[in-house]
């Protein structure tokens, strides 16, 4: 059996040149996954953080 979740969540935002000290970095804010493929998870563990 399988469970498929499809959901809407905020997109990460890339810092602008002014905010990012002169270069564009990784997206900040938005959804951040805390899992890896093939990882075993239990009910209640975090999959992602918004």
């Amino acid at each position: 059996s399988t469970i498929v979740l499809v959901f809407e969540a905020p997109k990460g935002r890339r810092p602008t040149m002014d905010e990012g000290e002169g270069h564009e970095g990784e997206p900040e804010g938005g959804l951040r996954w805390t899992i890896t493929e093939g990882q075993k998870v239990k009910v209640g563990e975090a999959l992602a953080v918004v």
């Binding site: 059996s1 498929v4 979740l5 499809v6 959901f7 809407e8 959804l31 009910v43 999959l47 918004v50």
Partner: protein
């Protein structure tokens, strides 16, 4: 005859598996041909066409599997596992099962394994309170079940990557049409608790923030939608008096967002215009030894469900790799709703051994049932009468569960249902 019966030696020999599979395949081929003939003879008549079985493409193993009567086998498997096991065989039997499939017996709620009369009951076991603590971060999306993360990521152009580059569309998984406003109302009651909630909904409009009082516990909109509150700040910032009309404003915000987005793009496309959002997906596979009840990953409102009475292929990682669009072929229940960031869907997909999907707040739902086909046929007939194409699923709405929320509210980590054998 008497002497022949008495004196003839009977030797029992197992039928080779390949021969059995060939025989079943030939029988299924015969059934398909007979059905095709029947459909052809009925063409042009008033009777709506039944759901046509989709022939999957893939290696020979998939082709052989597609000829097997998987749903019948699944039902037979379910019946077999409901047979009562002799009392003294239960503990060794369940321990053997636990050893083979890696069940942690120390977590099982009922320590005396004798109390499970059969494997079906043991399979649908509950766990001891506290063995699955929820992540303390209120902004975390929780794992809905025990299992293995097969795939996760961002959805581009409405396509979900299954495994190893195989993609399928959201339209195929969830249905291509927006949930119908005229869908029949599902019987969403699950017991006295929700009966009370239903009655107390009359108070919602009067008490603003509080929307239900059940057994002395007050449910409020902030604790339903934990996390940032779109307009009025975080829940902790919400004033405690009852002067703020929170419920109507949230409802109107969500509704305005939804209405504004109806014209443009697919129905499942991001709805909120205030925050840039995207669509994300995550696939969790439950192995046979896992705890098979599933829970709500976030606080959200389920507005409707779609029951796709498809096939029941195995959903093992091997088949997920080799059978394209597996999740769109199998029987599944698509729960559609919204959470604080917009669209939210939750789809338990059945498999050959676990074809029965149970949703706690939906007493009408019957999956992997002989009556399912009848319901689908009835839905097809009704769609034909209205002059609409049949969408391939039976839809029901939970709008009656709460007039304000227009759906069934689920808390973070709340048990939603489970998979049962057969």
């Amino acid at each position: 005859l008497n002497s022949a019966l008495k004196n003839t030696k009977i030797e029992w020999k197992p039928i080779p598996i390949a021969l059995g599979v060939t025989f079943l395949g030939a029988f299924q081929l015969y059934r398909i041909q007979r059905r095709e003939k029947h459909i052809q003879s009925n063409e042009g008549a008033d009777i709506p066409r039944k759901r046509e079985r989709i022939r999957p493409s893939g290696p020979w193993t998939v082709q052989v599997m597609s000829t097997l009567p998987l749903k019948a086998l699944s039902r037979l498997w379910g019946r077999f596992n409901e047979l009562t096991i002799p009392y003294y065989l239960r503990v060794p039997g369940f321990k053997l099962y636990a050893f083979i499939f890696g069940v942690n017996l120390s977590e099982v709620a009922e320590p005396d394994l004798h109390t499970y009369p059969n494997l079906a009951a043991f399979f649908y076991r509950t766990l001891k309170p506290g063995v699955r603590p929820l992540d303390p971060n209120p902004h975390a999306i929780l794992s809905p079940a025990d299992g293995k993360v097969i795939q996760f990521g961002h959805i581009e152009n409405g396509e979900v990557e299954q495994v190893k580059g195989v993609t399928y569309s959201l339209d195929a998984l969830l249905g291509s049409e927006r949930p119908s406003q005229n869908a029949p109302i599902a019987d969403a009651r699950i017991g006295a608790k929700h009966e009370h909630m239903k009655v107390d909904h009359e108070d919602i409009l009067r008490t603003d923030q509080e929307f239900a009082k059940v057994n002395g516990i007050t449910y409020t909109l902030p604790n339903l939608f934990s996390g940032p509150w779109p307009k009025h700040g975080t829940p902790s910032e919400m004033p405690s008096d009852q002067s703020m009309p929170a419920a109507p404003s949230i409802e109107s915000e969500v509704r305005a967002d939804l209405e504004g987005s109806e014209a443009a793009g697919p129905w499942w496309a991001p709805t909120s215009a205030k925050t840039p959002t995207g669509l994300y997906f995550c696939v969790i596979y439950l192995a046979p030894g896992d705890y098979h009840r599933f829970h709500s990953p976030v606080s959200w409102v389920v507005e409707s469900r779609r029951h796709f009475a498809g096939e029941l292929y195995s959903v093992s990682p091997y088949l997920q790799r080799t059978l394209p669009g597996l999740f769109t072929l199998n029987e599944r229940v698509v729960l559609l709703g919204r959470w604080r960031w917009g669209f939210f869907s939750y789809t338990p997909v059945g498999a050959t051994n676990v074809g029965s999907i149970k949703i706690n707040f939906d007493r009408e739902l019957r999956t992997n049932s002989l009556t399912t086909d009848t319901a689908a046929d009835r839905a097809a007939h009704e769609a034909a009468k209205r002059g609409e194409p049949y969408s391939g699923f039976a839809e029901a709405s939970y709008v009656n569960a709460s007039r304000v929320l227009r759906g069934h509210a689920l808390g973070r980590g709340e048990e939603m249902g489970g998979f049962q054998l057969g």
